[in-house]
Symmetry: C2
């Protein structure tokens, strides 16, 4: 999915992502891409199997060049975390020990607090095949593990980095339901507008003898009004619905496949999947 | 990362994942794997470019065979969602329209409520290159979009499915900090145990003339006690620390690289990264 706006500010802050002995360049590249998606930029590699730099990594990073270019390589995990204040180890395997174990939400909350306090933090990710050794986990302050399906728990390294990066971005958002864009702003309709719609529909139907027999008209009107008020229309939607009725009411049916006369009338079709049975 | 326990119940419920004209079998396989990780099982494909079944998909699914085997193929998107009650469209591009736009947390909350009410739901994902058309988005009830870095917003399809599947699993959890395993259960120490530690340390140091000059001893003791009470030790940790002091106190220094005599004493080393500066 696209949607990148290169004129918008590049977010690049937060915990370092530390990959311990990653094997495949593709995976390193996909990690860089996942980091860039959620505003992380500092990638550290401990002994990458196939060396560094890696063309495969750059290609898989899909233009997350700022992450690839800034990647640092270390010989030992100790060297890679020496300057950090607080480190998480990710693991899917149960570890017996004293270290606190967090889910991603709690861990990124902690990381965000430490970030705000000016601490340098990192998250360790193990090898593709067997993760981190107990000795490597022991170097971390706390453990983070993912709430996966117990019967199918194997996450690949780029996916694990993606989830932590995503939770990192969310930890900085005040409103978890914040989105990059919103629908066209709409005002709820007033009752007067709803009554206008009722009148319009009922007049058009009445002109066609719809309310038959006449003694049933009050009940039929009640039912119609129930249908058209249940939806909670906005002003714009009322306008679209009235456009539909106006068109049906005023214009005769043409030959098959004729193009509707007024662009306004197309709106209701696009929206009908949304409103038809709610 | 491994950690799969094949004896545990396979979770397989929740919204259908619908891929519209997916191009690469590898991507379909990675989608299946991401779904299985978080307990989703129903995969639907609309016109997969390279046909179905796909050996590349099965291979990339890393044993999520139950998802691959149950995958259904449809000729049109309408056919693929005909039996569903409520459908989300995922998109990274801004869409101008009336449909509500949600972030993953809000969207999966809605999906979970509908699931509990017995409704059938689905989530649409577009083509690798350009996502969903406006006409396809129009078939959905609501839109879901990801809180990505605006300057680097391109998520691949398997990553987008992963995030929605992950949020789906979280939407069913009462405690968002729930994890698959927990550290060894520990009781906070009592004050008596802390005082025992103080006495032990102070006696061992006193026996070596540590508190010098004598008039400074009260202040030195205060400082020591501050250091050893700040950590909030648990019972087990107190026991490990006392093992360390006992060893230092009782046993003479050996030749370099000698092996510690008692296994108990090793515990403190593993834990020291955690407790040293908190």
């Amino acid at each position: 999915m696209s949607g990148t706006n290169s004129e918008r500010e590049l977010i690049a802050e937060g915990p370092a992502i530390i990959l311990v002995e990653p094997q495949l360049g593709e995976n390193i590249g996909m990690v860089a891409r996942a980091m860039a998606n959620f505003g992380l930029a500092e990638l550290r590699l401990v002994n990458p199997r196939d060396g560094w730099p890696s063309e495969k990594a750059r290609s898989a990073a899909s233009k997350a060049d700022h992450v690839i270019d800034g990647t640092k390589v270390y010989e030992t995990l100790e060297d890679a975390i020496r300057d950090l204040n607080f480190v998480y180890a990710t693991t899917a395997r149960e570890r017996y020990g004293f270290k606190p174990v967090r889910a991603p939400v709690g861990a990124t909350k902690t990381l965000r607090e430490k970030f705000k306090a000016g601490e340098k933090t990192g998250i360790l990710f193990g090898r593709e095949r067997w993760g981190l050794s107990n000795e490597e986990v022991a170097l971390a302050d706390e453990i983070v593990t993912f709430p996966v399906n117990p019967a199918f728990a194997s996450l690949n390294i780029a996916q694990a980095v993606l989830l932590m990066s995503y939770e990192w971005m969310k930890s900085g958002m005040e409103d978890l339901d914040e989105t990059a864009f919103q629908p066209v702003e709409q005002r709820p309709s007033t009752k007067e507008q709803v009554f206008g719609l009722f009148d319009h529909i009922e007049e058009a139907l009445d002109a066609r003898g719809y309310f038959h027999p006449p003694e049933k008209k009050p009940k039929m009107v009640d039912n119609l009004r129930a249908v058209f008020s249940r939806r909670g229309f906005t002003e714009q939607e009322i306008s679209v619905v009235r456009g539909v009725i106006r068109s049906l009411d005023r214009f005769p049916r043409r030959r098959p496949h004729a193009v509707p006369e007024k662009a306004e009338d197309l709106g209701a079709g696009e929206n009908s999947g949304n409103g038809s049975d709610e």
